[in-house]
């Protein structure tokens, strides 16, 4: 039995950042990288299923990206993934979620997992698309925004809850193999112990090329994408009127706003 967990190394902006010379992305010098918050939960869910299972389950973390992504994959290994796979080729640069999903699907064909997990979305670009697009390329059943899951290793169906708007939940049964996108809060992700971090540092990360997974350059990058970034820019600042001064002065002004709302005389 196997669960494949697609993970992404996301990028947050430094306090002061600059847009790249071509105006289509942020200058990479100003990006702070980390494992996507959602992926912490989907990895944890896979590891918990593994730990609760009577039969052996292998958890494989898969990511698309250059060398620096190894750091996020090591985090996955430290938190309980059995193997880590990274796919990269310079041609992947400029890929949108659809092109990334095509690569993930190609890896899933090679790995033949019983379940494929991905985060609902990434904290940086928030497409909420990759996991479901990968399912479509595989021709697999799929569901998005799962916040509770029951699956017994080897079972032909899984039962899960979708988290809908307004806190409403929906219970759904799905045929396996299936792809599910996992929502924050489905579990409480563990911290990696120092020992497991050390062990993870010594584990190999399998690095594959596009060719290794049966894809070519035309399948990825702008050619394999459903959209192209024309321009990236800092939007004009919102209308927030800043309340200046020291904390006491700021609090006094805020108190006045509250009193005005309540119709209280100061």
């Amino acid at each position: 039995m196997k669960i494949m967990v697609a993970v992404k190394q996301v990028a947050a902006l430094d306090e002061d950042f600059e847009i790249r010379g071509d105006g289509r992305d942020v200058d990479p010098d100003f990006l702070i990288r980390d494992l996507n918050e959602w992926d912490d939960f989907s990895l944890e869910e896979a590891v918990r299923i593994k730990e609760a299972a009577a039969t052996p389950i292998e958890v494989v973390a898969v990511s698309i990206g250059p060398d620096e992504v190894d750091e996020s994959l090591r985090k996955c290994l430290a938190k309980g993934a059995d193997r880590a796979v990274r796919i990269w080729d310079d041609a992947v640069t400029g890929s949108d979620p659809i092109a990334i999903a095509r690569i993930l699907a190609a890896v899933a064909r090679r790995e033949s997992p019983d379940l494929l997990f991905a985060g609902v979305q990434s904290s940086d670009q928030s497409h909420a698309a990759t996991g479901i697009a990968a399912a479509a390329f595989l021709g697999w059943p799929h569901a998005a925004v799962v916040n509770h899951l029951s699956w017994t290793a080897g079972a032909r169906t899984a039962v899960f809850r979708r988290e809908l708007e307004g806190g409403l939940l929906q219970e759904v049964e799905i045929d396996a193999p299936a792809a599910l996108t996992i929502q924050l809060g489905i579990n409480t992700p563990r911290y990696a112990s120092l020992r497991s971090i050390k062990q993870a540092a010594a584990k190999p990360i399998e690095v594959l090329s596009l060719h290794d997974v049966g894809l070519g350059e035309a399948d990825v990058g702008e050619a394999g994408s459903s959209s192209r970034v024309r321009r990236m820019y800092v939007p004009p600042k919102g209308q927030a009127q800043l309340i200046e001064g020291d904390a006491a002065a700021q609090a006094r002004r805020l108190a006045a706003i509250i009193r005005e709302f309540k119709g209280d005389p100061a």
Partner: protein, 322 residues
């Protein structure tokens, strides 16, 4: 001349309000001779036709399917067949939990142009350009779709104002191919009641976010909320961590603060899902130590500073010991 296809959403017999917003967005994309066509996919689509008879709608297509509630396979088969038959230049869906479950799959299998969480659309020299956020909503990103004859866009809610004027669209029907559903919706589960907090009815809410740091600090803000007479709310990470019950979560997946008039957000960075639930609020005050926090983009007043210091001083203003 081509069609702009709008997919209306329903759940438990009610049209989802975002469906109407899509009709407004469609008008901005209309080229000369284009028609705006709204498809309703449901076992009994006829019941949703009346609220969709709006100005700017040329046709409503009733698409009768076998499943009562959203199902990815049913929707992909129905929308896919509609795209094949009508060859629309643009397909608009809501950026919602349901569309998360099928829009990307359609884009992948039909090789459509595709973008999600889009908050602005325009035609630039005959080419469709969509704008979305990037890097945690700190930048805006314009995307285009070279070479794609059909572009599927999932639009952010609460951005486009629903049309109000009535219209007189044609009503037609469409029979989609039978879809083999590989997942089966069993039941809806109502959110747990939690404590006695009424976020929906509260007029004054003080919300805490990740900035409070640790669970032990919740008490301090609970006291502050009591002192100023506000209902205490929270952002998602606080509820997920179990520091406050889920019923106090404000935002897209929590409660919509419908009646709220004054909203003070302390240590809430402002994920889009959170901001979605508060656009209608008269006065939003954001207190955050990060001057770049996206919540300042929607706030009326901003205080850049330490939330604990401000909380202490504010409590003092209302008679508490600082």
């Amino acid at each position: 001349m081509s069609a702009i296809l709008v997919i209306a959403e329903q759940r438990r017999g009610e049209l989802r309000p975002q469906s109407l917003e899509l009709i407004t967005a469609a008008q901005a994309l209309r080229k000369a001779g284009d028609e705006v066509v709204v498809a309703v996919i449901a076992p009994d689509p006829g019941r949703f036709v009346t609220p969709l008879r709006l100005a700017g709608v040329d046709e409503i297509i009733e698409v009768a399917v076998g499943t009562a509630e959203f199902d990815p396979d049913t929707f992909e088969a129905a929308v896919g067949a509609l795209i094949a038959e009508r060859r629309p230049s643009v397909v608009l869906v809501a950026h919602s939990v349901d569309s998360f479950g099928y829009a990307a799959a359609l884009a992948a299998t039909l090789a459509l142009g595709f973008a999600t969480d889009v908050f602005a659309v325009q035609q630039v020299e005959g080419a469709l350009v969509a704008t979305r956020g990037g890097y945690g909503q700190k930048v805006s990103v314009e995307v285009d779709f070279p070479g794609r004859s059909t572009v599927l866009l999932a639009l952010r809610g609460n951005v486009f104002k629903p049309p109000e004027a009535p219209g007189a669209p044609r009503i037609t029907s469409f029979t989609p191919p039978a879809a083999a559903s590989r997942s089966r919706a069993r039941a809806f589960i109502e959110p747990p009641a939690g404590d006695d907090a009424d976020m929906t009815g509260a007029e004054f809410i003080l919300t805490i976010g990740r900035g409070i740091g640790e669970e032990a600090n919740v008490a301090q803000f609970r006291e502050l909320a009591d002192a100023v007479g506000a209902t205490l709310g929270c952002s998602r990470p606080i509820a997920d961590a179990g520091w406050l019950p889920k019923s106090r979560q404000v935002g897209q997946s929590g409660k919509t603060a419908t009646a709220c008039k004054l909203y003070i957000a302390m240590g809430v960075s402002g994920a889009i899902q959170h901001l979605a639930g508060m656009k209608h609020v008269n006065t939003i005050v954001a207190v955050n130590s990060d001057a770049n926090a996206s919540i300042f983009g929607v706030a009326t007043y901003g205080i850049v500073g330490d939330i604990f210091e401000i909380a202490n001083e504010l409590k003092h203003e209302f008679g508490g010991a600082a």
